[in-house]
Symmetry: C2
Amino acid sequence: MTNFRLVIQYDGKRYSGWQKQGNTGNTIQGKIEQILSRMTGYAVEIHGAGRTDAGVHARAQIANAKIATEQTAEEVMDYLNAYLPADIAITACEPAPERFHARLNAKGKHYCYRLCDGSVPDVFRRNYICAWERALDIADMQKAAACLVGTHDFRAFSSVNRRFKKSTVRTITALDVIRDGQEIWFDIQGTGFLYNMVRIIVGTLVEVGEGKRRPEGIPEILDSFDRQQAGITMPPHGLMLEEVFY
Amino acid sequence: MTNFRLVIQYDGKRYSGWQKQGNTGNTIQGKIEQILSRMTGYAVEIHGAGRTDAGVHARAQIANAKIATEQTAEEVMDYLNAYLPADIAITACEPAPERFHARLNAKGKHYCYRLCDGSVPDVFRRNYICAWERALDIADMQKAAACLVGTHDFRAFSSVNRRFKKSTVRTITALDVIRDGQEIWFDIQGTGFLYNMVRIIVGTLVEVGEGKRRPEGIPEILDSFDRQQAGITMPPHGLMLEEVFY
């Protein structure tokens, strides 16, 4: 058995997200497992670092898969790339220590949400940038973002349901709001993220940028533990899993 | 009548090219004229600087349209962008001198052909980059490219038919072959280009890069006036009309 560590890039547009959903759903995990299972002749399971939602992209998702094969890492990668659709690519594959687990060993993740405010989005990037009709105030969004950095209970900024028993405390180590020409990048790093957390954080910051909320209101939202107090969930296509830290 | 000068950006993938083809074909020109005609209530004609082929993209195609309207250039642009599909955008619109004609006044054009050799293409740019399985020799392609710069009869490097009576002499002012990470850019500027000329030039350079042809063989191809002597026509999706000069 070799434990292969894969780096996976995908355009999430056509998929119901990373995670396999029984026999239904067109998922990234499902696509890759299907090809590895055909290659080996038995059911291979892969473990991804982050369960990206439907429509969310990844520049470097990490996964591992234990495979009994004589094939080298390069051969496994070439086999996968030969059969994967053009919107999923394996960009690296290497043998990892037997105990390496892509999700359990992950120490943090880096996501970036991109939007284009008050101007026509670049047509060549339209599938990766959310178009926002009104211009946004960067300084106010930066002030609000600063209130979210650190260790907090992010229940209000997530779509986990009320009966979710696990801890909703997470640490955001960095949250930068950067203007890059016509685009605004929300660059966020943390130890882990709850369901829809990045998209709800960005939705809340966008409402601040529009002047609908004050940056000073953020701590109150955190303290409410109430999803209704936070902003909208932004559309998925602006979100990219950039990197996983180990 | 106001003569509006439009800057148009498009992803050519879904279209049969720039130029209207009677009542058939899904073209960029057709899409824009349809919306302008609806706006004004009569048939508006637009003139594009370059007739990009089916599947070819443009970052800044230039066109002009004479319209009898009270609307400002900004209103015309907003109207177009409101009705155009997401893969076509008007990035600028301004009133131009009455005699301005986007095609007849164009002094030159800048195209760029992008490919990715010997590696998996970036999935987020896959619609704009041609994947090429084998690694290419840049130095040899640069030598070959240098033979094409200048004023030549480019009949051998075009798909014009034998009975084409007009001059096939064109001037290439610059043709650079640049490696940019995993991508190779064929950056070409000239006074004008024949049908398929850029894609055939790049196809011929790629065959040089693969070692199938010698750079020294280029002048002989020019002198043959024979399409069969040049290389393949590269696929359209790697080609972008970058800029039009006036």
